[in-house]
Symmetry: C2
Subunit: 778 residues, 2 copies
């Protein structure tokens, strides 16, 4: 099984990635950053057992008194998700606690100051047009200071309930939500199989995603190939740049991620007894600046401190760029190199022409795709957060670059969002609560379309059960963002791994379509009507076909084809050269050169009235990492019963719960069978997933078992069921309360509950409570 | 772009595959055959433009008078799919026509006789225990004769409407149902991107599949990794055997499938002017026997006839076995070889222990998985029928090998099926109409579980719109079937490519779990209670740990581990050897050998009362090729309007149609806008996919456009809509009839139609017909 290098979690952007960001024309720069399965996670180093705010067993957090948020220009209000009937205070509970606790704020104040100081330095350097390297180093220092602040903030965050990751992971494994792939063969790191519960949860999340985005926004959903030929990923920049640096043990071949390795080695060095204060400072300085160092600089560090393999003490190779795509060969010749796609987006871009045509040539339109992508991580860790094979749901919204308003923006403009702007980040502040309408009006968020998607992403995440107080949108700082993107916000969810980037939402301008146009010569453009027709000068090459045919025979067609593709600039050059020495040297598609004389071609000028103009559309791209969202949701919904820490369960909302209902006969008395069978058939007819548990074991123990797999409702068939009028009990997982409902009615009630057409509260008003409490355990 | 070899379609089983079938212990034998994307398609050579039976524009075939089917022991009846409200004569229309037409039957009679004669010869040879090679050759000849008969039958099949594949493909491309992947980069053969319509159709088919199988049968659905490490596929037999033979052009590297190449070359040779009758006979003989030849025999043919590259005339290499799996490396070391899975099934088998545990240790249970698989075809052709990347939906039903009855068999036992038994195939007969209950009772179908799935497969295929008269279940002949499978039936659908295997349904016994158990030492078994406890003799090895530790130091643990794994037989051997020369030579897991003496180990005998016994479960496996099913469905539902051959459309049932409803304002009059917007919101709320077409163009032209993408219902907003009471027209795609419905009611009507809760006939009874006919074209 694979050598996975050393166990260090990533805490910073990899230097290679940062390097990419500085190169404006490379797609991979964003690829490495923009996607939910991107190369870094904030605060990933936070220990397994952390404390953070969580809800009571009822699923709604204790409401905090409304206080004015000092960092925000808008007063805090109860916001969002009215549709979902949620009554959640959406201000960050953590931030609120800190703000109202002067003691804690006093501890944070010096850290905030240090961030702001460095932020100002970066601003200064940029304003002065300082050397790129200086800016990079200042930014690296800024990030290090931000991280210290954020870690401290999280450490001071109060918790209602402590979160025990190991306990949750044990349950997930035991009830096969998901588990390591090929475990009986020793397993492969970074690959997971979803068992029945994980698979159903995932497919319910995806079904809701389709409803929220593909259906409600009338998107064009596509399903493109995973195997991608090399030229496509060359154009996108992935072949050249989608890489991490690593070194190998020269004897064992063991691989290590270079930045992780150096950090670990220098930390060890500076903690050694014999370390001088000078050496310690030196090491600390390098660790802070690690992100800003290039391949050579990193190699120099390796050499200077004589760093060896931490496992064997053997020598290491020079740094190697390891491309993170899985390579293979398509077809039997061995000549067609292909890769497993590292993102689904490229499949949409290369189909742009067909999709525009399908939409009858009209903009804007959005294309959605759900599918698997692959990244050959050097040493994947952190469970579902960083994996080699993952499901993404991506949207590419194509629009006119000068018209980025959105017709439905009005619907969501009052949505309150926790926005962690680049500015706040530079100033050492926390996220602010802002209405998205205001954020767009003040240009904090670049345009309506981007703002619209951010609000819809939030609505979706809240609908599936992500806790509002653990969700924020973090803006990329200008140095993080690819040059061509004008704005980018990541939806980050707070988990025991820290804030995890789960959805990227970027305005990517015209980059990708431009790259594929350049690579293929196929113009991936749209047209729009000009306000008024305009007259343009047209220059074109007129081939003398007869003369060409005579001179060049079979080559004549290639020549006329090549002539037809010349740009305006090139035509001007042709004209100049014909006027000069009377010859123009043309290179055809097959690479051959031909000298063309005045007898074979001429340049004609004319004027033409045009009514439309061509342009490359802009792209706004929300990109969802389904595995990360799912993992965060599991953390947010994990609970243990008060007073019984062994009885754990998930409060997943019925909409996404893997199974909607259980049927439990009170005992294995055969009289109950006709009723359980009848209920099972009726639930199937109503398209409700359910599970009959007629195994032995007390009813309490069986309830606990259904709670573990997040079944929200349970129907129990008991002796009263046998009497007329036939009734059953219906139990709610979260409250453990039961009501008594008619046998004929109960399936309808479960259907309404599962599709959010009614709530448990309403059901308890409608039907009599069933008082007999379940035994906690037996 | 890839060299794709020569364009010859496959008509027979590849010799390699046949070879595999003769090897009982190799999983790949079936892998190559059992799956929907298997290595052969019957009658693939049928020309692009063929004629076959099809329906009238109403979607129901003209009912033929009931005649007794001479080949069947049961009288033909109207069968199947009452639930779906279909009134289709399910006897094969083709077979029926032939039977009732003595002239055609006279033409077929000699062909039938030739098949039967050869079938009898094969039976004889097998009965006599003839040499394997002789049997193989006789079977090859039998297949060739069967094929001649089948081709003739199809050629004589009457057609109501001729089917023009090129025309359909043009429409599929133009409206982007699906198209070649990466076309702007030149495209890759055997890879397709699904556009909005193809993607929605596919996802509707899969949703219905989930409902029919995962939900109704309460299966455990899983979602396993695509990247699979080599040892897993070694155990399954794919690494060694999942291959086709090919040769390469020594100069250009162009690759050719060996059997295709030889067939083409010999056909050319025998058609040459100078060919003697002797040479012609020789060539024909080889072509017929091609399937039965092994690698060396094929190489000999190549040499004997001095066959060169058909493209360049260059020499060819020796035959090379080309493994059809895409290989890659997992992790950075380059040491962990992996493949893209060639089928989804292995992911289920390696998770068997977890799944059995999830099911509380109880059998039977079924596991479902939908996902992509990959096969690196040498030269993929035939559109969606043979591709390199495809979606499968597989079920593995695990059961007690001696209890293969099915609790729900009674529900489907009267389902009439078109069964093309191995016996009928040997006798030159057609498929017979048989009730599945009778087929199981007479042992034609091996057991209830297999029969149950066959009936459910049929119900599913009919529900999505496959024509009953173009569906049959073909039994694998004993020589086609892997030794460990006790019965196997393929659901074959008649298309313009001939009969295409779309769903495999095999009883695979305990093969796969056995292989993975052998490879990993993890016992993939279930337990069952014995009718009565029994006493068994137990032999075990007792290691003298102290002595072992002293003698073998660090190796002692490996030795005790290896001892614990010894089988009963091996323990007996240990005992014998210890009793003999007092030494036993043990090989540990790391391959080292150790001599163990009497001082270190001894053998102990005792007796034990056991209440349960362990067994390896049997597996019944229905395996669906979603792309093939989808393609067949498109062919079956392709229609052109009477009298207007340019106006083509698809009669896809509303349940699977990509978009359920269109909204067409009569003109671009702005008064219509509030109504179209209101309707669009209401349809979204009802979760109905829809498309607003407010483009210019006559209403007739817009209807035609919605017909092309199979939208079953259209709502038109006209001037009457503006008046009170507000009404709209509702149009049915298949009949082009319209009714007038209240604005408030229409969404409910469309919802009921789309979910099959009502029918168009009922709607026309309930609402007034709207008489104004649409212009056919303008």
């Amino acid at each position: 099984m694979p050598a996975d290098g050393i166990l260090i979690q990533r805490t910073k952007l990899h230097p290679q990635v940062k390097l990419l960001k500085a190169l404006p024309h490379l797609r991979s720069a964003t690829s490495a950053v923009r996607s939910p399965i991107a190369r870094k996670t904030w605060s990933e180093h936070i220990a397994t057992k952390v404390f953070f705010c969580t809800t009571t067993t009822k699923g709604t957090p204790a409401a905090a008194p409304p206080t004015t948020h000092p960092q925000s220009s808008t007063p805090p209000t109860t916001w969002g998700a009215k549709k979902q009937n949620r009554k959640v205070k959406l201000r960050s509970a953590a931030a609120e606690f800190i703000m109202s606790n002067p003691e804690i704020e006093a501890q944070l104040a010096p850290l905030r100051e240090r961030v702001q100081e460095q932020g100002n330095l970066v601003r200064d350097l940029k304003a002065k047009g300082a050397a790129e390297l200086d800016v990079k180093k200042a930014v690296a220092e800024l990030k290090a200071r931000k991280k210290l602040l954020e870690d401290k903030e999280l450490a001071l965050t109060p918790s209602v309930v402590s979160f025990d990751r190991a306990k949750m992971e044990d349950l997930l494994k035991r009830r096969f939500f998901y588990d390591q792939s090929f475990a009986i063969y020793g397993g492969i790191t970074g690959q997971y199989d979803f068992g029945p519960m994980g698979c159903a949860l995932k497919s319910n999340i995806l079904a809701l995603w389709r409803q929220y985005f593909a259906l409600e926004e009338q998107m064009l959903e596509v399903d493109c190939s995973i195997l991608t030929p090399e030229p496509v990923l060359k154009a996108s920049g992935h072949v050249e740049r989608f890489a991490d640096l690593m070194v190998k043990d020269v004897k064992t071949g063991e691989c290590f991620r270079l930045d992780h390795l150096i950090k670990q080695a220098l930390e060890k060095l500076s903690k050694a007894k014999e370390a001088t204060p000078a050496l310690q400072a030196e090491c600390e300085d390098i660790i802070i600046k690690l992100d800003g160092l290039n391949k050579q600089e990193l190699a120099d560090v390796l050499a200077k401190y004589n760093i060896k393999s931490p496992l064997t003490g053997n020598d290491l190779t020079e740094p190697i760029e390891f491309n993170l795509m899985f390579a293979t060969q398509i077809g039997p010749t061995g000549l067609v190199k292909g890769f497993l796609r590292p993102e689904t987006a490229q499949g949409i871009f290369v189909n742009f022409k067909r999709l525009l045509e399908f939409n009858q040539g009209k903009l804007p339109f959005a294309v959605a795709q759900i599918g698997n992508s692959f990244r050959n991580e050097i040493s994947p860790r952190s469970g579902l957060i960083r994996v080699r094979e993952f499901t993404m749901a991506e949207i590419e919204h194509f629009c006119d670059p000068v018209l980025k308003d959105h017709p439905k923006f009005g619907n969501i403009k009052s949505e309150k969002m926790s926005l962690y702007s680049a500015c706040n980040q530079m100033d050492g502040k926390s996220a602010s609560q802002v209405e998205i309408g205001e954020a767009v009006a003040t240009k904090l968020v670049a345009n309506e379309t981007l703002g619209y998607y951010m609000a819809r992403i939030q609505q979706f995440l809240l609908a599936i059960g992500i806790k509002a107080e653990c969700l924020r949108f973090r803006q990329h700082m200008s140095n993080e963002m690819a040059h061509y993107a004008c704005d980018c916000w990541d939806a980050e969810i707070l988990t025991s791994y820290g804030w995890v980037e789960c959805v990227g939402c970027a305005d990517r301008s015209a980059y990708d379509l431009g790259q594929h146009t350049a690579a293929t010569g196929v113009r991936l453009v749209a047209e729009k009507r000009l306000p008024a027709p305009k007259t343009v000068e047209v220059s074109e090459i007129v081939p003398n076909k007869q003369a060409l045919g005579k001179t060049f025979k079979k080559e004549a067609k290639n020549i006329t084809d090549a002539l037809a593709k010349l740009s305006l600039e090139e035509i001007t050059k042709v004209e100049e050269q014909l006027a000069g020495d009377g010859q123009y040297k043309l290179t055809t598609a097959d690479g051959q050169s031909h000298e063309l004389g005045k007898d074979t071609i001429s340049v004609k000028h004319s004027s033409k009235t045009v009514h439309v103009e061509e342009f490359i559309p802009s792209v706004v791209e929300p990109s969802f990492g389904i595995g990360r969202i799912m993992y965060s949701l599991l953390e947010h919904s994990f609970q243990c019963r008060d007073g019984d820490e062994q009885r754990c369960y998930f409060t997943l909302p019925p909409l996404v719960a893997p199974i909607k209902c259980s049927i439990l006969p009170l005992s294995n008395n055969t009289d109950f069978q006709p009723y359980t069978q009848k209920l099972s058939s009726a639930l199937t007819k109503a398209e409700l997933s359910h599970k009959v548990d007629d195994s032995s074991g007390s009813i309490g123990r069986r309830y606990a078992r259904t709670d573990e797999i997040a079944i929200p409702y349970g129907i129990t068939v008991d002796f009263d069921t046998l009497k007329e009028p036939h009734t059953v009990t219906l139990r709610d997982r979260n409250t453990m309360k039961q009501v008594r409902v008619g046998l004929e009615e109960v399936v309808g009630v479960v259907k309404d509950l599962s599709t959010a057409r009614t709530s448990w509260e309403k059901v308890t008003e409608q039907y009599p409570l069933f008082e007999q409490q379940e035994a906690s355990s037996k």
